[in-house]
Each structure stands twice: as C-alpha cells, then as structure tokens.
Amino acid sequence: MKRPIAGQRAYAWLLRLYPRSFRAEYGDEMQDVFSSALAEASAHGFRLAAAVWLRELRDLPLNLVRERGWGADSGAWEDDMTTDSVHASRGEGSGRTEERAASWREALAGAGLFLFLPALVGVYTAMYSLLAGYGVRPSPLYAMAGSILFALMVIGLMALACFAWIRGFPRWSFPYLGFGLLVSLLMRSTAATGATILGHDIDRLERLLWQAFVPALIVAGVAWLVTRSVQPIRKLATDVWNDWSRISFVLYGMLPIALVLPFDETHGGSLLGIALFLVLGIGALEYMRSTRPWQRAAALGGGLAVSWLVATAWLSFYWHGRQEPWMPAPADGYGTAVAMSGAGAILLVLLFAPSLLGIAHGVHQRTR
C-alpha cells in the first residue's frame, strides 16, 4: 500500500510535541498506525484522508495536556478510564490546609501578578515621561498606548486563566482570578471615554456591561475545549473547601486595584505605587511558602497592612493643606488618614474572614 510521505513527515513532527518518554515508548508504533490509517483513507479519497488528520488535530490538545501532565495537578484527570471516579481519596470536607509549601517556582507564580503590575506601571510611566520630554502633549496617542497596554494585560490574564483552568486551578492562580474578576466588574460599569485604537473611536460604548465578561467566557470556552472535563471545576471546589484561605488569596488579588484607587488625582506617586505592589508581592510569596493556616492568613494580612499603612501615611501628607482647582477648600491630612484607616480595616476584615472561618472549621472537624 502506498504511504503518503509528506503526511508521515508531518505526523513525525507532531509527535515531537509529546513528552520524550512517551515518544520513546510509543512513537514508532504511533507513526506506523497513523501511516497505515492515512494510507488506507487516502486510497478512498481526499475526504477520508482529511478526516484522519482532523481527528488527530482535534484530539491533540487534550492528549498533550494528559501526557505532559498539565492536567489537574496529578496529570491526567482521574476520570480518563472511568466516567465517575473522583470523590474518594481527596478528603473532602476535612477543612484541612495542605501541609506542603509551594516550590519557589510556584511561589513566584503566585506573586507574579504583584511583580507584573509594577512593570506595567513602570512601562507606562516611562513612556509618558519620554513623550512629554519630546514635547508631545496629551493626545489620542496617550490613550492609544494606554489601550494597547490594557489589551496586552487582558490577553495575558486570559492566557494565564486558561492555563490555570487546564491545570485544575493550582494555588498560585487564585490572585489572578480575583484580579480578573474585579477588572471585569469595574469594566462593566466603566466608560472607555476618549479611548481610541489606531484612530478608531471606541468610546461610544459608554459602558461595557455584559461585554466586560466576554474574556471570561472565551477563557471558559477554550479551557472546556481543551479539557472536555468538569474535573478542574471539581478540583477547584474541593481545594477551596479544604483550604479556605484560597478565598482570601482571591481577595488579595483584588488589592492592587483597591490600592490604586485612593491615588486618583494625585501626582508623583508612581514609584511609591510600584513599591506598594512589591510589598503585596512579598505577602503573596510568604503565603505560597507557608504551610499552616494561621501563617497563610498572617502573610496576606501583613502584606495588606504594611502596604495600606504606607499608602495612608503618604496620602495624608500629600493632601494635608493641598487645594486643587476643583476643591472648594484645602484638604485635611487627618481626615484622609481616618478615611484610609477605616477603609483599610474593612479590607482587613474581608481578607481575614475566609481564612479565620477556615481555621475554625478545621479545628471543629478535628475535635468532632
């Protein structure tokens, strides 16, 4: 039987995407079987040969996820062989925190959001300074550059969310989920005034409303296409049930935005903003490296408390006696400090609540 050489070569290239050990064990056999299937299909016409290729390409993402061990922490999903086999052995309802510190790689991934944002702020500030240095007045160019940076951030978040979903929502991914959720909620009610891309005016939308969740829907769609399993969602629910501090970690991911909001209408705070994000990053690193529930709660609480205190002090001094043209009277630094402290206390309570409830739940389970 004549074997299409080009098809075999293309398939050999495709095989290189599989892990080396898998290839070494099954590569030759797979190549033989594929060549036989393609040769037989080709003898019956182009349509059948195309179907062989389409089947291979259709299944490739899921096969790679399984064989490369990208799926739900342990690699392939457990319901590969049986259709309903998940529950046992996971210790649902135990209220325990996993007693394993994250590796440095995982810890850095968990803190990545708080390191990436300073980089974004830095790039934007540098670009702004550069354009201003050349005498470029605020113009659609600024808005366009800002839009492009924002689009890059959204695309990056979407790619990360997809990856996290496919991997069964590992612990490092939780702050990204919180950040993405808050960005979507804010975009839902925020008008993109003056936003233009390549000269095209996009501010007519006024409010994005449900369109703000389109990226989340795309992430869900892509992740579902790749995994075709509810196992990642099950794992997410089980992990959160076993370690309630993960909810705190989701809320922690929203803090960069909460920290930026009080700096509205201020000038010259970019460097401080970068430093505050880095403080949050240290809290996230500490959280990822901790093994005990109270350590995890303390790491997140510490990150919030330190960054919020510094922001409160800076803003109090900044506004003390300052009067902008739109203000009827000079601002009061003391009033700023009180308002910021109140907001910080509320954030601390919200952040601690799931962790503390989780600790209480764990104690209750152990004493039953």
Binding site: D32, A37, D59, L60, M81
Partner: protein
C-alpha cells in the same frame, strides 16, 4: 454504593470500553484496535492515534492490559507490538458488560413514553 477502589469500578469511558472489548477475543496490535473500535461502535467512536496510545499507556499503568508477542507477525513490516487483556482487565470488562446488560434489562422492563425510541 461505589467501591473505594475506583480503578476496578465501572462505568468505563466509551473509548476505554471499546478498546478493551477489541482485545477481548485475542491480543491485537494498534492498527487492528483502531479499526475494531470503529467497527464495534458502528462508526460512532473513531479514535485518533494519539488518543489510542494515551489510553493504551493508562491501561498498561493500571495493569488492565499487557504487551504480548504478535501471534501473526507481519513479515514485511517491522515487529509489531500487540496488547492483551490481563486477568484484572478481563474482570473489569466483565463487570462493565454485566452493568450494561442490567441497564438494558431494566430499560426492557419499563414501558417507555412516547418519543423515547
């Protein structure tokens, strides 16, 4: 109630079931399994090579199948690997067949409503 040992606990996925069913009468090599699965499922399950060998790897890991010598070696091609059900694999397949038969029997006892066929 389901057994705590999910490895021996059907239901199997459709693909796994047909792959194991294909090996049931005699050991088979990869291409024969691929064609068998399509035939046994009346064209409903068409496996890609990647999916077939992913399943074979997991079945080997589970100890439900094993590698055997090809009883009918192809003289023109290189030596082909064949796969056969193990004792555990046969038990799992039998259990799955009994489960499916029980379901079909139950469906036969129940008068089906209009539009159910």
């Amino acid at each position: 109630m389901r057994s705590p040992d999910a490895r021996l606990d059907p239901p199997l996925t459709e693909a796994t079931f047909y792959i194991m069913l294909s090996m049931s009468p005699a050991p088979k090599h990869g291409y024969a399994i691929l064609k068998d699965v399509r035939f046994l499922s009346a064209g409903q399950v068409a496996l890609s090579t990647g999916t077939l060998y992913g399943a074979i790897r997991r079945l080997l890991d589970q100890g439900w199948i094993e590698r055997t010598e090809d009883p009918l070696p192809d003289q023109t091609a290189r030596k082909r690997q064949t796969y056969a059900l193990t004792h555990d694999g046969r038990r799992v397949l039998d259990a799955e067949l009994r489960r499916l038969q029980a379901m079909v029997r139950a469906a036969g006892l129940q008068p089906l409503g209009e539009g159910a066929r």
